[in-house]
Symmetry: C2
Amino acid sequence: MDMENRKFDYEVIEEIKTRWSPRAFDPERTVPEDDLMGMLEAARYAPSCFNEQPWRFIVGRRGDSNFERIKAALTDSNREWASKASVLMMILSVQKFEKNQKPNRWHLFDAGTAWGYLSLEAERRGLITHAMAGYNRDQIREAFSVPEELSIIAAVAVGYYGDKASLSQKNFENEKPSPRNSIQDLLYQSQAIE
Amino acid sequence: MDMENRKFDYEVIEEIKTRWSPRAFDPERTVPEDDLMGMLEAARYAPSCFNEQPWRFIVGRRGDSNFERIKAALTDSNREWASKASVLMMILSVQKFEKNQKPNRWHLFDAGTAWGYLSLEAERRGLITHAMAGYNRDQIREAFSVPEELSIIAAVAVGYYGDKASLSQKNFENEKPSPRNSIQDLLYQSQAIE
């Protein structure tokens, strides 16, 4: 793998170093139950505002109706490669606090943290993940009868690395880890770290 | 540590298992530069929609003006314990895509993923973290001249575990890892996993 865009100046968790978002999924392999549950186990231990745990997941496995419904809602360009994944998931979040039904300003942020944990646990288990913004949200809402109180945030493809040569020319050329901004670019009022 | 609320049915990354959100920070120790930068290095390798990397951080270290400004904006109940942290950070996010200035629906979600990576890297380095929703947002916006185009999401205390006995009675009693919902509770249309 071409890791030219992943130069680490500081040591970090192995799975953070090796994780990226490939498209070349293996259309044959299936994800063992234990790995799928392990990913969800990781997600559920994310921290959240008032421990509200607003994250929810729809999980589809190749061949089941959840998988087919998620696959059908993807954009054509995502469906092309993501339909070869072993698992298609949707990440949702609950918009209001359970306790008092007031708006939870952190539900998207907290769901992102849970997705972060899930993505790293998948990596530890030898799985690849690729989150997607490209899908028809209304179609997902209707297909799974998701009430308006839940946000539909992202689709995620999960599976095993397959054959890069099976990708379209465009995806083939982009099939490598993406670059990142420098740490200094992330620091607002960066005089903080001198 | 009382880990009664952390029973893992599936193996997950060590840092996910051991991380929680304590309040008993050590008011003496300081975080080495390398650890602080390592945390930000972890954050910057999080995935994001179109690789936009919308997360931003304000970092204050005990004694500097960023730390004092964040500390001043915390609610009294948070300031009581969080002022003993070695580092106080603010997590921000850029609301629009850089490329076309259209609203980025995923900026909070992606910032949550980056925070997730940061929190685990801190844990690996022996640091404790505690994210807080309790602070005066307007005060932060004014103190750091944060433009309206950036969301101010959360404050985070970072440091070393100190003396639990230094906590108030209420915080002392709550000083343990919080419980979690079951995996089944997180599955929307949970027939997916049988």
